[in-house]
């Protein structure tokens, strides 16, 4: 390595340093500290008791039925809402891509839900579905006295709907970006080759959009797995609708049991890591095929 290359490298590191240090301070440090806490008995209600307990906190979390119920809830909510978002998002992306007039208007208006704060959106939907004052129960075919938040799966359906309403635009935008990279000439070629509209979609659009779809799914799944605001506002975990994030919050903030709460957080972190690795390694959410 010549001196010039060496000094350029050193300059490169120097220029990256502020950003790298800031990132480490706000991500690596809290993660590390959470791991440290999860291995201790730390409870702010009993500040005098404490000390290293090894994996005891993890044992407590993993052996409790609550963790597994909450994990099921979280996975259920994630899978259903991301699936619906993918289908709707794809439809909206196709419409936005093909829109001939009012393109800007369509794209802007589709994005409005994504621009609304999640808590505000959750409140709006909660009011809409409130059994006494909400408008939903006055719609035809819906019982006037239906208590949406009084039962587990009807509460889930409202939560999923609010999530879908809010984040579909994000999905649509990511998919639109993938859609615009496909050469229109391929569709002409496919038309001449005898492909119907559906075949053009399944054999040209979908395979060529695979990278964009996987990236969109990865982003949204990670996001959905950490669901908190909507549930917190709508049910606060009642009727067995609690997610793992709510569980962690309750342990940490409500019960002030930092050791147990940190163990929950670390487990969530591991789940997210597993999802990310699954997408990148198994499904290959990396380079688009055919391009080098």
């Amino acid at each position: 390595m010549s001196d010039r290359v060496k000094s350029e490298r050193r300059l490169g590191w120097l220029l990256c340093a502020p950003a790298a240090i800031a990132m480490l301070a706000v991500t690596a440090y809290p993660i590390g500290y959470a791991i440290v806490l999860s291995l201790q008995q730390v409870d702010l209600r009993f500040p005098d008791e404490g000390g290293w307990v090894g994996l005891q906190n993890y044992g407590a979390v993993l052996s409790s039925g609550l963790w597994w119920t909450d994990l099921f809830n979280t996975v259920f909510l994630s899978v259903i809402s991301v699936s619906i978002e993918l289908c709707l998002g794809m439809a909206i992306a196709l419409v936005m891509h093909r829109a001939i007039f009012g393109r800007g208007l369509v794209r802007t208006s589709v994005l409005i839900p994504y621009g609304i704060v999640t808590v505000v959106a959750a409140f709006s939907w909660q009011f809409a579905f409130a059994p006494d004052t909400g408008f939903v129960n006055h719609l035809p075919f819906i019982a006037d006295d239906k208590d949406w938040f009084g039962e587990r799966f009807s509460a889930f359906s409202v939560i999923i709907m609010a999530e879908v309403w809010k984040t579909t635009p994000f999905m649509a935008l990511l998919l639109l970006a993938g859609l615009t990279t496909i050469d229109d000439g391929l569709y002409d070629a496919a038309k001449v080759d005898g492909a119907s509209a559906w075949q053009r979609f399944t054999r040209i659009t979908l395979p060529l959009m695979k990278p964009a779809i996987l990236v969109a799914l990865l982003f949204r799944t990670l996001d959905a797995f950490r669901i908190f605001d909507t549930i917190f506002i709508m049910t606060n975990g009642a009727q067995d609708t609690q997610s793992v994030s709510i569980l962690g919050y309750q342990q940490l903030i409500s019960r002030l049991n930092l050791g147990l709460g940190s163990a929950v957080s670390v487990l969530i972190f591991i789940c997210v890591l597993v999802i990310a690795v699954f997408f990148v390694r198994v499904l290959g959410a990396r380079q688009p095929e055919g391009s080098r």
């Binding site: 000439g185 002409d188 070629a189 038309k191 001449v192 080759d193 005898g194 060529l208 391009s291």
Partner: protein, 395 residues
Amino acid sequence: MADIVLDHVTKKYGDGYEAVKSMDLEIQDGEFMILVGPSGCGKSTALNMIAGLEDISDGELKIGGELVNNRAPKDRDIAMVFQNYALYPHMTVRENMGFALKLAKVDQKEINQKVEEAAKTLDLTEHLDRKPANLSGGQRQRVAMGRAIVREPKAFLMDEPLSNLDAKLRVQMRTEVAELQSRLGTTTVYVTHDQTEAMTLGDRVAVMRSGVLQQVDTPAVLYNDPVNLFVAGFIGSPSMNFIHGQIRGDEIELPFTTLPLSDELKRAASGDREVIAGLRPEHFEDAELVGDHLGEGVTFEAKIDLVESMGSELYVYFDAGSDKADRVEQAASEAGLEELAGGDSNQIVARLSPESSAKRSETLKLWVDPERLLLFDPDSGERIRAEGGSGDAGQ
């Protein structure tokens, strides 16, 4: 295989712009037809209408005797080769070539056999399992051709298929395309803006300009007997010289000489009138080298501005010395010709034998063949010819 008939086919867009105006064209079964013209002349639109990728606003399109105006591209049994090849990037060469057959639910064994056959013809066998991104431009072009030929369609439609290749490869592929077409005998419509491709490939060539079909004929007729200034100027390289001329009796006065009119032109251009004379560069020669033919032509002296030697021939530029050059320029631009031979209307290009002693800034005795003279009306740009006579067509 089938013939393709366009009957008053018109393409009109929503804003009223007519890209193709009432086009009549009969393409015979097995014929290699070229659509040629400058960019924006409507040739690609015409091709897309035949393919079914663009709606036909008016008129009838028949393929193999069947009216296909309202049929989707997939029901027209045509194959198309696109300018950018439009190969499916996620499929291998084999899958690309077999895609249409697969959609048609042909047996996989038969698909493989046909694809391998086509690959053999096109020298692609060793690349069958590669993706298009890993192929060179020429190979991709061949895959695009292969995708068309495995289908054994009624017709091939080719939209500037060679224009993305470099010059050398283009000439090579031109020969291959011509060979392939004559071997398969499939009706082919080929769009290009390159008049050399048009002249060398086509059985017949249709020249288009601003959505209007100008002339359809064999390359030789287009070259020797163009119907108007546009066709005369567009076909041939270097292009035809246009010179302002005045007819007086049996003669035509050109700025640099006076030529006798042939019997046919005498009949055509009766009376003294203003014309635009067209002379191709090769109809001039160094008077020293004409030999026995000297008496058949007219000699004159010209001061040479520039000599370009191509080795096999010499291009000699001299000043026409016309004071009415702008008249010619105006007529040419009205006819849609963007460039005139030699760059401006007062410059004449002559193609001479390489033995010529022509030198820059010297005066040279030139010979011209008056029999080859073409006359055009300066106002309409139409060819002036005897009624009923078609000139010396087809030589």
